[in-house]
Amino acid sequence: MTTARGAAKIKIAPLAGLLFAAAFPVWGAPITFNTALPVHEGGLVWREQFIYDKNSRDPSAANRNVKVSGLISILGYGVTRDFALFGMLPYLDKRLDMEMGGQRVTRDDRGIGDLTLFGRYTAYQNDAPGRTFRVSPFLGVKAPTGRDDARDGLGRLPPPIQLGSGSWDALGGVVATYQTLAYQIDSQLSYKANSEANGFRFGNVTQLDASFQYRLWPQTLGGGVPAFLYGVLEANLVRAGKNRMGGVDDPNSGGTTLFLSPGLQYVTKKWILEAGIQVPVAQSLNGAALKNNYILNTGFRVNF
């Protein structure tokens, strides 16, 4: 039984990078990642994001199936015109189904996950009539606020099914946004350095994202501030390093995944409604890693 639990721990670990990728704080117009657009000084933006992450393409006989549902609350506050602080707290429901000893077993947990805090500084800004270009580095930390020692009848849950990692992790990157009245392009490069907790360390995650949003409606702009309907196409290239357990790299963890994500956004002055689906178009994972099926991403944002 111990061996079987150990195997489960090893083989589903590659999911960790993808789960972090889906849950990374999101701002402005892109659906799946951050943006350089401003949060006005003293302003608050609240985002509520629902994700459903399904992973069931298992090359092994265990026929593993991992589903993660999450409600992610994000608050952004404009400290100054150039510096904004963001906080993200997820409520997660993680579920693993697999064959074990000739039976189908389910292991799951639900509750508050790890809190992520980061600051973003607009280092470069070039405004012109009806368009803007901004570049903003960001730096943050993930705190171990989620439970990381949950157990069931089979013992301690494997790390990717725990709500929290138990570790303090650092993240940073840079995001660039070019926005016009007709379209917007965003790109982001980020890196997350994970530390060890409970003898386990998730592989570090490097991510390159791009987003293109095109105004579908209104086709011709009138006066005032009309609501916009954007068609969105995003790409996320996620490279997760190998996990480390007991000081040894896990050969069945880490790898590279490329997602393409079509979506829609309805943007008003006060709020945004949005939905998109991340589809893995290429997955090159190490060993017997469980592959992703899709990640559904929907939610709203409100300006205060």
Binding site: L37, P38, H40, G78, T132, L181, K269
Partner: protein, 104 residues
């Protein structure tokens, strides 16, 4: 006699209306960087926080913001620039337009 009272009351009402009318001042700002509805909210909020500002009309197509200010309030280019800058945008133009009479 009734006619005299009617005329007096009418004159008083007109005098009161005239006294309560105020001359609003309208300013036209040109704001660079405004390119989506969600961003326009910040400009409106920062300008509305300025004392004396009673109305904001944003037109994102032209990047213009019309600010109506009550009579006697101080609204100069430095004030407008601070509000627009705090919203995260760039003030490129500040123009005082002719006075408009508004009943208050």
């Amino acid at each position: 006699m009734t006619g005299i009272w009617r005329s007096t009351i009418l004159a008083l009402v007109l005098a009161l209306m005239s006294a309560s009318a105020s001359a609003a001042q309208v300013y036209k700002l040109r704001v660079d960087g405004l390119a989506c509805p969600f961003c326009a909210y910040g400009v409106e909020k920062q300008l509305k926080a300025v004392k004396g500002v009673e109305k904001i009309d944003v037109d994102i197509k032209t990047g213009s913001v019309i600010v109506t200010v009550v009579e006697g309030a101080v609204f100069d280019e430095a004030t407008a620039k601070k509000a627009v800058t705090d919203a995260g945008f760039t003030l490129r133009g500040f123009e005082k337009t002719p006075r408009q009479e508004t009943g208050k």
